[in-house]
Symmetry: C2
Subunit: 337 residues, 2 copies
């Protein structure tokens, strides 16, 4: 803990202090650290001793400043407290970190104003790329990112015509796929339980995909809060004339299933139940839940790769479509059963 004033200016030793102790210039120290082969054996040893003596730690800010790189990518997500986003971020972080990038996370609560505000913070800390969720954003966001020369990419979406690259899946098609499964089983009168529409463009797209279902299909849309409770409460608007329930999220489906179980209503005997997301527990439920698999982990990996490639090559980011897939399990059955 010796406080050698020789090599301490404002608390921390600098590369110059190390040089002074080792009897060389700062440039030599820098070289010893970054390209050791250009420094003689003996000098290198003296320098390392000096580093140990001074407790020198490179100043990351000075480094970043001179290189102009922070190796940092920012992600804006509506929430962390939802398996979809945390799974996505997990995959994203893993891949980014494999390529030596750091991930800064900011939560937007689905609020475009807050999103803009947090985007500013991320930009003003020097992120090199910015990942957002969905397509509806404050108009200023794009402009902001462009001014900062930071490239933007949207996820949870695939829409090649959009004003920014998108990496994700087609929510409309996915919703159609889910519905087709139920109609294929003969269901014609179907409850659709979904979360709030405002400030959730994924839900909006999914609903859009359902709207032109066809004349002989009766859809009853039930909006509720996007949580387990909401799934249960939505059932108040359900009656047995609707032979199937399509939930636009597995959380809602589980909420509904638990309520049905509590009420003694048999799935799929009394009603078919289908989710959307394919979350971890879904396949273990009783009965195992039919759902729609979203390629969340792939999306995380692909997004990380795209951003890293872009930062390396300078090429613009291309949109990538990932595919959704039915996971047919026991919670859905033919209408007659």
């Amino acid at each position: 803990m010796a406080q050698r004033s020789t090599f301490r200016r404002k608390g921390r030793a600098t590369i110059i202090d190390v040089g002074r102790v080792a009897g060389v210039s700062d440039a030599t120290v820098s070289r010893a650290l970054n390209r050791p082969e250009t420094v003689s054996q003996t000098t290198r040893e003296r320098i390392h001793a000096a580093i140990a003596e001074t407790g020198y730690v490179p100043n990351p800010l000075a480094k970043a400043m001179v290189s102009g790189r922070t190796h940092t990518v920012g992600a804006l997500v509506p929430t962390l407290d939802h398996a979809i986003f945390s799974k996505f971020l997990h995959a994203l972080e893993t891949e980014l970190s494999a390529q030596s990038y750091n991930l800064v996370v900011a939560v937007t609560e689905g609020d475009n104003t807050l999103e803009l505000e947090k985007a500013k913070k991320l930009l003003s800390m020097g992120v090199e790329g910015l990942i957002v969720s969905g397509l509806s954003h404050n108009g200023e966001l794009l402009e902001l990112a462009e001014r900062a020369a930071v490239s933007l990419v949207a996820t949870s979406y695939y829409e090649p015509g959009a004003s920014l690259p998108t990496i994700g899946y087609d929510n409309e098609v996915a919703a159609k796929l889910a519905l087709a499964h139920l109609t294929g089983l003969g269901h014609r009168n179907i409850a659709v339980i979904h979360g709030p529409v405002s400030s959730n463009d994924r839900t909006q797209s999914r609903l859009k995909g359902l709207h032109d279902a066809g004349n002989d299909i009766d859809l009853h849309f039930i909006q509720t809060s996007l949580d387990y409770r909401g799934g249960g409460e939505a059932l108040l608007q359900w009656d047995r004339s609707m032979t199937a329930i399509l939930c636009l999220s597995d959380v809602l489906a589980m909420g509904a299933l638990f309520k049905l179980q509590a009420d003694g209503i048999q799935v799929p005997h009394d009603v078919s139940l289908m989710g959307f997301d394919n979350m971890d527990p879904s396949e273990f439920l009783t009965p195992p839940l039919t759902s729609l698999k979203l390629p969340i982990e792939d999306m995380g990996k692909a997004t990380a790769k795209a951003v890293c490639d872009h930062l390396q090559s300078g090429e613009p980011i291309a949109s990538i479509e990932l595919h959704t897939q039915l996971a047919v399990r026991d919670s859905t059955a033919p209408v007659g059963k």
Copy 2:
């Protein structure tokens, strides 16, 4: 999109370019931006026009370098793909962001070597504080953080004697509390389902809390994988002589419950089932799951506050104990029933 070579050096306009266009020095521009009241009205206007013209965006790195601050805090968590940690991070981010700090997240997969590696990356990008989960770490970590003059705080734990400040709860006490609930209902022969012990010191502590349960209590420890499947599979080692099952995580409890439901075993009639964590769905299960509430959100908030206070005041971080609490619901019943 005019490419005025006058004010472009390496692609981006600098504060000096703005000054040149506005006909003032860089210092005046800097002041106009940071302390506008010290600059005359007319000059300010000219400067803002110049900023618009040049598309100037302050370089965050230079700023950080001169101020020596990044306003960034790092968090190392075992995984993001688990509600506990993502809930924690959500609360953490919310509070940090309220105090204008950014959050960098790194995933350790519960591996101390990887943790150390990622800690290095976080330090070398300039985090001002580092939040880790649990107490078992690579020894180098503490040393590293100290050298970088970055303060460390451990969460999910409360242990005032530890070598670093801890903000969390007492896992041993919590486990005892859970067990006491079951023994209080008369259960004497209890299965304890838990996840992998290695590299999970929270599980270790919880088990430690159970070990001196008392002579008349028979505990059957069943280790399994920490996921829904694991909870179900663990039941292979359970038989009806064990009148209660204590799962050291709600994920395991849900996995077990779903399997019990599938097998037609009634909870709590045939067996009492208790979880640990109190995750979102638990109260909606059929039957609602008795669990042990962990103060995860409080922990996130408290940790953020502690770190921010520390960074503001320079005072060392003090350990904080948060309390756990039983959430008694219908999945547990007296042994006779």
